[in-house]
């Protein structure tokens, strides 16, 4: 049988099937899912916008104490007293080494988008907030069941239009 004959046979099969479609119920089920997703997204956006607004208000009224946070590891500095002048007969004072307090190191996750299709980004603000650890699970990060209600630090990126666009989570390593 030649290739042309096979193609002709396949064309006949395609013609016979060309009217076949998914049943109407599939469309109904999909539209139902679409509406549920849209409602959930609105709720999430609203919740995060409220969170961001609350954080902004908090930042406005309560000036936070600057945190001793270092984003990159720093080289420990040994503070050594200056050597005594040679002329002095008295023995040099013992070198005093002050222990350097290790600063906690900030560890951040990647940003997780909060909008499926975000409007163009022009400018925005990064707000440091605390959220329940369950928020991490919402973006797919693993969270132990016992710690779902723990508070964790997060940075929320709020765009110029006031929408919370992305979130990342922050932890500190000693």
């Amino acid at each position: 049988m030649s290739e042309e004959s096979v193609i002709a046979a396949l064309r006949a099969l395609a013609e016979q099937d060309c009217e076949r479609e998914a049943p109407k119920e599939v469309e109904a089920r999909l539209l139902s899912a679409f509406r549920r997703k849209r409602a959930r997204r609105k709720l999430k956006t609203l919740a995060l916008a409220s969170l961001a607004a609350a954080a902004a208000i908090t930042l406005f009224f309560v000036r936070p104490q600057p945190k001793p946070v270092v984003t990159t590891p720093t080289r420990p500095q040994l503070l050594v007293s200056a050597p005594e002048p040679v002329e002095i007969a008295a023995p040099p004072a013992p070198k005093q080494v002050r222990p350097v307090r290790r600063q906690p190191r900030e560890v951040v996750t990647d940003f997780f988008p909060l909008l499926d299709v975000a409007p163009p980004f022009e400018r925005g603000e990064l707000l440091r907030v605390t959220v329940p650890a369950s928020a991490m699970r919402n973006v797919g990060l693993p969270v132990n069941e016992d710690h779902l209600t723990d508070r964790v630090y997060a940075d929320v990126l709020v765009g110029q239009e006031g929408l919370a666009r992305a979130i990342r989570f922050v932890s500190y390593e000693q």
């Binding site: 049988m1 030649s2 290739e3 004959s5 096979v6 193609i7 002709a8 046979a9 396949l10 064309r11 006949a12 099969l13 395609a14 016979q16 099937d17 060309c18 076949r20 479609e21 998914a22 049943p23 599939v26 469309e27 089920r29 999909l30 539209l31 899912a33 679409f34 509406r35 997703k37 849209r38 997204r41 609105k42 499926d116 299709v117």
Partner: protein, 190 residues
């Protein structure tokens, strides 16, 4: 003016139900037929169609216009879902393909509908990697480029698999005609 698939998808992802409905109505037939011709099961094809569009809702932002059309993106999703199902029930779709009509049934088999069913079963009996190319290019009329985008492989691979798939079909269809003891140019009777 009719919106493109990409424009409809973009609107649908921002929550426009009309756009989603329009895109679904435009593309569901192709996805359903692809799944049907790959699995031979209307129930599976229905499931795959539904899950394909659900996946589009969840992961539609991953669509990249530079990598292919929305249709090929949908076929790609449907193809993965089909393959997962075929892995769960390997060989199930081959059962009818191996059957061969006896001489008494041959005259009835010569009716157009049954000849087409032989072709359908021959397609279903192809190994999945050849079947998907034959279904996309010969039954769904996709271009080689669209098929390559859907299957995530080079165009050259699509061409070679299509050629081999057609050659396998030619042998299978010759076998169907020959097993009844007569030489039948099956496609010409269609």
């Amino acid at each position: 003016m009719m919106l493109t698939d990409a424009a409809l998808l973009e609107q649908a992802l921002t929550g426009a139900e009309d756009a989603f409905t329009a895109l679904y109505r435009r593309r569901q037939g192709g996805v359903y037929r692809f799944a049907l011709q790959m699995t031979g099961s209307a129930a599976l094809a229905e499931d795959v169609t539904q899950e394909t569009f659900l996946a589009l809702l969840l992961h539609g932002t991953r669509y990249d216009e530079a990598r292919g059309t929305v249709a090929s993106f949908l076929y790609g999703i449907a193809r993965n879902l089909v393959m997962r199902r075929l892995d769960r029930r390997p060989g199930a779709e081959l059962e009818i393909a191996e059957e061969c009509a006896g001489p008494e049934d041959l005259l009835e088999d010569l009716t157009r509908r049954e000849s087409i069913e032989h072709v359908r079963q021959a397609v279903l009996s192809l190994p999945p990697v050849f079947r998907e190319v034959v279904v996309l290019c010969d039954l769904q009329d996709s271009s080689y480029e669209d098929a390559a985008a859907a299957l995530d492989c080079p165009v050259g691979t699509v061409r070679s698999r299509l050629s081999r798939g057609r050659a396998m079909l030619a042998r299978k269809l010759r076998g169907v005609a020959g097993c009844a003891g007569r030489s039948i140019e099956c496609p010409k009777s269609l």
